[in-house]
Subunit: 327 residues, 2 copies
């Protein structure tokens, strides 16, 4: 089986490739060929050096998508995107990469199928940013998409294209609306959502972290491991069970910042909690207030997608996967 | 005030222009300049010969949208589209005209505003085709868009773009999801929805009409006059009352085919009803089964949009507007 990962240098993309390498036959059959694409050349796990082709490529550049489709991968994981903040700051770049790049990929697959039948599985990384406030207490599977960012708009449009191209039989697509991934490994970043990870990851490493909002802020989370699991599951899922509504809100954990901190205390003790410095930032508070806090992700759960049930688990996963199993 | 109507040769577009001509000052101030665009040259009402410029133009062709935006109309009515059946039959044409053409218009307005401030009102004709079965009994304002046609997909994408461009301040947009327009004037056509008008219009003119479905089929209607009213109202509406959710399901009348026929009998007598020939067509029945039947269009009603409350009214409007007031 030939697997293509677009966005393979990103955090979830790298973990997805590592998981494919670690667990042979994860997709039902072995991976015989792996194409790894990102704007910078993606890393290749040792297990895959024989079969992997890493490529530095801008999906939205002329010819890129056609080149990828011409190799006829059986499974396409499309995770590449300009992130929310940058898509808001640079309107044209966001639309070019997130909308035109994705549409170019879909079109290249459609046109590839016109010479000889071709209908790959396409698993697309969407986002809960397709939703915009005000929200009900729990957002159900039939709630409408009214994004309040250009990033969310681009994801919502890609979802519509994915459904239509699937309905027309050009490929077999499924879109996954990812929760906020927590705990993100790496350094603290300036994304408005960064603190959700920072306040756990940094204290676990003995470092201070800044909390810019109150502890009663609620949000929607899944671990990086759960996110990788979503993609693997979507790649092999029987899509006849999904029907024409191809975009699914992934399961997650709805939790207060205070619940994150209580879990940190249980797992790592009071000394870890003391490393969190409260520095209220009204700008971040205002941004976060527009984000969804809770979902009823019934459809995805019924289809076998699963996330964590407690922040203790999310923290333990971070310790296992990033800190060698101990703090 | 400079008004641009794109799709001015279509049924609703023509009626909109005629109404602007008939009722001076309908938009709060007089129309001083009128640009009329369609794929064929639109007709110009006698009252507007001095100020109107009719143009035959493909909005999706290079340079078209830029030319229209460069004239800086104050109000843009965008009604041009490839219809549902054709967009399904010709995938590339549908996307080129309905998506790329609309996006080109929005982009041209955005770029026009970069040289000198420019922020027109844009009123966009969307459709209830953005919804796809299965439906609740009444579709509420927060129900999600999962179109089951490429046409519906293109309209849903245009809605998302309209909201984002409005949010960013590039123009002041509002999208109107039109009910099925009934009674459509003119000849019977082969659109799957054609019979809803045919079974009233033809008997009112003493002609036979074919009914291809049972009388228990329910659908969602508004008259051409109501549709024109939606556009006029949207052009002058205080959009601060609308907020960021710019796409509105228009009010309409939910009615059974049997109720249409009962109204025909009340208005035109049993002899008119006898001209309806029942010829069940399983193909049309199946298509119609996927269409929405009823809405709770609360937001639009609260904003002052109004449609008919009975099919007797819809038939009387047809008699007044198309048949000179008598049958």
């Amino acid at each position: 089986m030939h697997v293509l990962v677009i966005g393979a240098a990103g955090m979830v993309g790298r973990k997805l490739v590592e998981r494919l390498a670690a667990e042979e036959g994860l997709l039902g059959v072995g991976v015989s060929r792996l194409s790894l694409v990102d704007i910078v050349e993606p890393p290749v796990p040792a297990a895959f050096t024989e079969i992997a082709t890493p490529m530095a490529m801008d999906l939205s550049a002329p010819g890129s998508a056609e080149k990828l489709a011409a190799a006829r991968p059986d499974i396409v994981f499309h995770l590449a995107a300009i992130v929310s903040g940058e898509a808001e700051a640079d309107f044209e770049k966001g639309y070019r990469v997130n909308l035109d790049g994705t549409r170019a990929l879909f079109e290249a697959i459609r046109l590839e199928g016109q010479t000889e039948p071709y209908r790959p599985r396409v698993v697309f990384a969407s986002s809960i940013a397709v939703f915009g406030a005000p929200f009900p207490d729990r957002i159900g599977d039939e709630f409408f998409a009214t994004p309040l960012t250009s990033y969310g708009t681009q994801k919502a449009i890609a979802e519509l294209l994915l459904s239509d191209y699937s309905r027309r039989g050009f490929f077999d697509g499924v879109g996954l609306r990812l929760p906020t991934i927590c705990i993100r490994p790496g350094k603290p970043n300036k994304a408005a959502s960064g603190f959700f990870s920072n306040i756990l990851r940094e204290p676990l490493a003995g470092q201070e972290a800044v909390l810019p909002v109150e502890e009663d802020v609620r949000h929607w989370f899944a671990s990086p491991r759960a996110a990788v699991g979503f993609f693997i599951h979507a790649a092999t899922l029987d899509l006849s069970r999904v029907g024409p509504r191809r975009n699914l809100t992934m399961p997650g954990l709805s939790a207060l910042v205070g619940e994150q901190i209580a879990a940190l205390k249980r797992v790592a003790g009071e000394k870890a909690v003391k490393l969190i410095r409260h520095e209220p930032d009204p700008t971040i508070r205002a941004i976060v207030a527009g984000w969804p806090t809770n979902f009823d992700a019934r459809r995805a759960e019924g289809l076998g997608f699963a996330a964590e049930n407690s922040f203790d688990d999310i923290i333990r996963i971070h310790i296992e996967d990033e800190l060698g199993g101990a703090i």
